[in-house]
């Protein structure tokens, strides 16, 4: 079963990346996540626990990139 990194966007839920957690280069996955965070401010959350992740591991099958919120 593939793991996926998704986010909420103006198109609804959008899959950013799908990979096989058994064989994927997790360094590369985390690098892509870091690049996405640098660009959008979104940070990864584990959709199994609801916890924010410092780093995505092979344990996570579904990761949600959560965008920043502003007060207003």
């Amino acid at each position: 079963m593939n793991a996926k990194i998704l986010t909420f966007s103006s198109h609804g839920d959008t899959t950013l990346l799908e990979y096989d957690p058994a064989t994927a280069d997790m360094e590369e996955v985390n690098k892509l996540i870091a690049e996405y965070e640098a660009k959008t401010g979104a940070q990864p959350f584990d959709m199994a626990t609801g916890e924010r992740l410092e780093r995505v591991t092979r344990e996570q099958n579904e990761v949600l990139m959560v965008h920043p919120i502003a007060g207003g």
């Binding site: 986010t7 909420f8 966007s9 103006s10 198109h11 609804g12 839920d13 965070e37 640098a38 959008t40 401010g41 979104a42 940070q43 959350f45 959709m47 626990t49 609801g50 916890e51 924010r52 949600l64 959560v66 965008h67 920043p68 919120i69 502003a70 007060g71 207003g72």
Partner: protein
């Protein structure tokens, strides 16, 4: 001399014939032109009609697109609601009407459409209710996903409420300030 006269007479007859019968020819010509003009007008009308049809078609197409977009929109709204239900379950939030109540320690948040209120200490009956607005920096996401985003962030970092209330810009889930251009 005689051939010259005959030629002159023939020439004159031809001229007379041309003037006499020109009117009767102009009728059919005019009638021939008229239908052409009519056809032209009809073509223009058809053109307008086509344009109208085109407009209708475009509108219909737009309606179709809107409808299909609507279907897509409904679809994405349904999916967004499903994610919201999942995230509400993950965070332990409970739905009350259009709002979600989230307890984090002694704090109680009530999150609804771009509004969030907080009771600092739910065990303190005199605790004041604070309220602020929020909006995701990434605009245009479905409302349900906005709520889900706020629930996840508040569960993980309830101090974000103070940042949002300060209205001092956008914050990442970990509390770091974020400016969209950075």
């Amino acid at each position: 001399m005689a051939p010259a006269i005959v030629s002159a007479i023939v020439f004159l007859v031809l001229i007379v014939w041309r003037f006499v019968f020109a009117g009767s020819h102009s009728g059919p010509l005019a009638r021939a032109i008229a239908p052409q003009q009519q056809r032209h007008s009809n073509l223009l009308a058809e053109g307008l009609h086509i344009s109208d049809l085109g407009t209708v078609a475009v509108i219909a197409e737009n309606q179709f697109e809107n409808n299909s977009g609507g279907l897509h929109f409904l679809d994405r709204k349904d999916r967004a609601k499903a994610y919201l239900r999942r995230i509400a379950a993950l965070t332990g939030a409970t739905q009350t009407g259009s709002a979600y109540v989230l307890d984090v320690g002694k704090m109680r948040f009530r999150v609804r459409d771009r509004h969030v209120s907080r009771l600092r200490d739910v065990t303190d009956p005199g605790c004041a209710l604070e309220e602020t607005c929020f909006y995701p920096v990434h605009r245009g996401m479905p409302k349900a996903e906005e709520l889900a985003t706020a629930l996840l962030q508040l569960m993980n970092n309830p101090a974000l409420f103070d940042r949002w209330a300060a209205q001092s810009g956008a914050y990442k889930a970990d509390g770091q300030a974020f400016s969209p251009g950075q």
